[in-house]
């Protein structure tokens, strides 16, 4: 993964400071496009199966919200695997959408927990722990991939892999 300077592991340590390049050339040697693309497909399928089979929800607003996650993850996969500047934009936007959806999901959990604490008073260790575990699981299972992937896409290495001009 790219370091803080956006330097890819295969770049020489003595790389000169970046200069804006008017017409970026694609770095087709970077394997991360395929790794992230594969992970995106796998997670999109996993999310879809989970929402469809494991946690089906009859309430439309909840169903719509939940389905944004596999759909945006799938869009992220398509953009990532396209490998073009347009794909880069799709992947970044879709990854941001997953993150936004995840954040809203966390806010929904917290708002619901606040309601229950308001009505029932002492939330109880079990319920509080359960809510925190839910939030932690959502971050781990849903947010982690788009966080690192969008971070990668916005590094110089990520931009070069897609032929996106480096600022």
């Amino acid at each position: 993964m790219a370091g803080r300077t956006g330097r890819a592991p295969h770049e020489p340590a003595t790389a000169t400071p970046p200069t804006p390049s008017p017409s970026a050339r694609r770095d087709t040697r970077d394997p991360r496009r395929w790794i992230y693309g594969g992970l995106d497909v796998a997670f999109a399928v996993l999310y879809a199966v989970a929402i469809w089979q494991v946690i089906p929800n009859r309430l439309p607003s909840a169903a719509v919200h939940l389905w944004t996650i596999p759909l945006a993850t799938l869009a992220m996969a398509v953009g990532t695997l396209l490998g073009t500047p347009r794909g880069w934009r799709i992947a970044v936007l879709a990854g941001s959408a997953v993150l936004l959806s995840t954040f809203v999901l966390i806010v929904r959990i917290l708002v619901s927990a606040a309601f229950l604490a308001g009505v029932y008073g002492a939330f109880g260790k079990a319920a509080a722990t359960f809510a925190l575990v839910m939030v932690a699981l959502v971050i781990e299972l849903v947010a982690l991939l788009p966080i690192v992937q969008v971070k990668y896409l916005r590094t110089r290495a990520g931009r070069r892999a897609y032929g996106v001009p480096v600022p």
């Binding site: 606040a114 008073g121 109880g124």
Partner: protein, 633 residues
């Protein structure tokens, strides 16, 4: 600060800030703090004004009491007579003293009360509900409505038994008090799970809107947007007005302290309830809804009458007799056991084993399959009869039933759980909860009453299998329903003198303690302390507090036998008993029940439906604990 630095700061702080603000706003919007309660003197003064109005509606009003408190809402008065709410008035004012006088005036104006006899007015009990705070229902907060997980506001809208629902129409409040909502079953109106069809939760807001509209004299229904939740400081007159009014929470007054004497008295109270619900035929009134007075007809056979529950309840009465020697228990026990023997004979399950030994098994009417647990519980009950009375009249029957139990046991100690009677074939595949532990207990009891070491050996083989089953990675973190195992382990002492039984039961106790509500004085759910429950958002069932305590008593006694009683188990038992002592209906708390309710143990804190086994499990725990609780740490 550079643009990048600002972005980094925002990324690391804004999400947390949004979460914090949203949480705080929603919590503040919905929170109704528990009320500051009136003290005994203040309660007495308020009730005195109302009692004067009830005692003699035509007498001159007495002056306003010296209880000047600013009120947050109306003062509601309910008059209970013979378990029924015969009058309700709501008074609105700024000061408690003047509002109490206003409520008394409204009571005087009730034509129904004037028509009551003096005796009825004297025994009627007054309940006061002071509205102490209000809050919105889900649907009344835009932020919550936009963001909350769908269904939360419907399923968990109010704290049942603690909160009521009101509307204000043209400046006049209309109330459905907390006890009215639960009595009308308006807080358990939805069944969200097809897997758990008996699990009911959720408020019936359309029906509540209709009821409130009817009370306000408005046609149609009230929309949810105009409804609010409220909490009350509630108190009721004690029986015969002996002492200050009793503060209620979730409809119940405080319980007596957990002492051996209090537990013994409570268990006997439960015994009296059961005896009062025993028909001349020896059959129990299986269920009694004390809110409506509807009860199962004990003169009719069939229906959903459970023979294992008949056996279990009769076992408890025999146990109560063995420990207390109360003479009034003896005849009802004889009657109930005679009926049990009749029921067993009607099963036509008897036969001869391959080795020629006669056997019998319990078969419910119309069934073709005999269940191990039913026969095991029958043996436990019959053995308890002999333990209690010394009379061996049922020993032969118990021996035949125990022969079948031993036939159903495999060489490794495990049991077949189901037996096809027409083909005389045990089912080697079906496994059901409880049965193996129940069978182990039956065999241990048979050793006790017959002295036949074969039973003891069979019980130990069964217990070894049950306990050793937990020899796997992560064992100790997960347990099934093992309360019968621990009861059997203690019953097998001293034959089953094995430290692993004690260690297993102490481990099971630790597992159960993790599900036991802790005592947090002042919290909204403090009355659940000691109950076994997995979430504070659903009221606990009372029966597990009894049945698991029965098991924990055995676990504690096992520790005593081995010289290492676990004080944590003793504390666990004490907490559960404090919970069930409060749940049991007694003269203090039976003001709102129709019929003989003294000694009954309802299914939940917000229910008044009684089934015989609810009383059995709770009162069995009480009487067993009464023997040693005063000496425990």
């Amino acid at each position: 600060m550079t643009r990048r630095a600002a972005a980094v700061v925002c990324v690391w702080t804004l999400p947390s800030l949004v979460c914090l603000v949203a949480t705080a706003l929603v919590y503040r919007s919905f929170r109704i703090s528990p009320p500051t309660r009136l003290d005994a003197t203040e309660r007495t003064r308020v009730i005195a004004v109302l009692r004067a109005a009830l005692a003699d509606p035509l007498a001159a009003p007495i002056p306003a009491p010296d209880v000047h408190h600013a009120l947050s809402g109306p003062l509601a008065v309910t008059v209970w007579a013979n378990g029924r709410s015969i009058a309700r008035v709501d008074a609105l004012g700024a000061d408690l003293a003047t509002t109490a006088v206003e409520a008394a005036a409204l009571l005087r104006a009730q034509p129904g009360l004037r028509a009551l006899s003096a005796a009825t007015r004297a025994t009627a009990r007054l309940q006061v509900d002071l509205v102490a705070g209000t809050g919105p229902l889900g649907g009344g907060s835009p932020l919550f409505d936009l963001l909350a997980i769908p269904g939360i506001a419907d399923m968990l809208a109010i704290n049942p038994g603690v909160e009521g629902i009101a509307a204000v129409l043209e400046g006049k409040p209309v109330l459905l008090l907390p006890h009215e909502l639960v009595a009308m079953k308006l807080v358990s109106a939805k069944r969200p799970s097809e897997v758990l069809p008996d699990f009911a939760i959720g408020v019936d807001l359309p029906r509540i809107g209709q009821l409130l509209a009817a009370r306000a004299g408005v046609p149609g229904t009230l929309p949810p947007e105009v409804l609010v939740r409220f909490r009350t400081d509630t108190f009721v007159e004690p029986p015969d007005r002996a002492g200050p009014p009793l503060a209620l929470y979730r409809g119940l007054p405080d319980a007596p302290p957990v002492t051996g004497a209090a537990l013994r008295e409570a268990a006997l109270r439960g015994g009296r309830y059961l005896v009062a619900h025993l028909a001349p035929s020896g059959r129990y009134v299986y269920e009694h809804d004390l809110w409506t007075g509807a009860a199962t007809d004990a003169t009719r056979t069939g229906g959903n009458y459970s023979m294992p529950r008949h056996a279990g309840t009769t076992y408890f009465l025999a146990e109560l007799y063995r420990i207390t020697r109360e003479p009034w228990l003896r005849e009802p026990i004889e009657r109930a056991f005679a009926h049990l023997a009749d029921l067993l004979a009607q099963g036509h399950c008897a036969g001869t084993l391959p080795d020629g030994e006669p056997f019998d098994c319990v078969l419910d009417t119309g069934e073709t399959v005999a269940h191990l647990g039913s026969t095991a519980l029958a043996v436990v009950a019959l053995a308890e009869y002999q333990r209690a009375t010394g009379d061996p009249r049922y020993l032969a029957l118990a021996t035949r039933l125990a022969a079948w139990l031993r036939y159903m046991q495999r060489p490794d100690g495990s049991f077949r759980h189901v037996y096809d009677v027409p083909t005389r074939t045990p089912d080697d595949r079906t496994e059901l909860p409880y049965y193996s532990g129940e069978a182990a207990l039956a065999l241990a009891r048979m050793q006790g009453i017959s002295g036949d070491a074969g039973y003891g050996a069979a019980a130990v083989r069964a217990l070894d299998w049950l306990v050793d089953w937990y020899d796997f990675f992560m064992a100790g973190f997960f347990y099934g329903e093992e309360h019968w195992t621990c009861i059997a382990a203690e019953a097998s002492w001293p034959v089953g003198r094995r430290a692993k039984y004690m260690e297993f039961c102490h481990g099971y106790g630790a597992f159960l303690r993790a599900q036991q509500a802790a005592a947090e004085p002042g919290s909204d759910e403090a009355d659940f302390a000691g109950a076994y429950n997995v979430t504070p958002f659903v009221v606990p069932y009372n029966t597990p507090a009894g049945s698991r305590t029965e098991a924990m008593i055995s676990a504690y006694l096992l520790g005593q036998h081995h010289g290492t009683p676990d004080p944590r188990v003793a504390a666990q038992i004490r907490a559960a008993l404090a919970y069930v002592l409060r749940q049991q209906l007694r003269p203090d708390s039976d003001f709102d029940v129709i019929g003989q309710g003294d000694g009954a143990v309802p299914g939940t804190p917000i229910d008044r439906n009684i089934r015989i086994d609810y009383v059995q499990h709770v009162c069995s725990a009480m009487i067993r604990a009464s023997e040693w609780i005063d000496a425990a740490p």
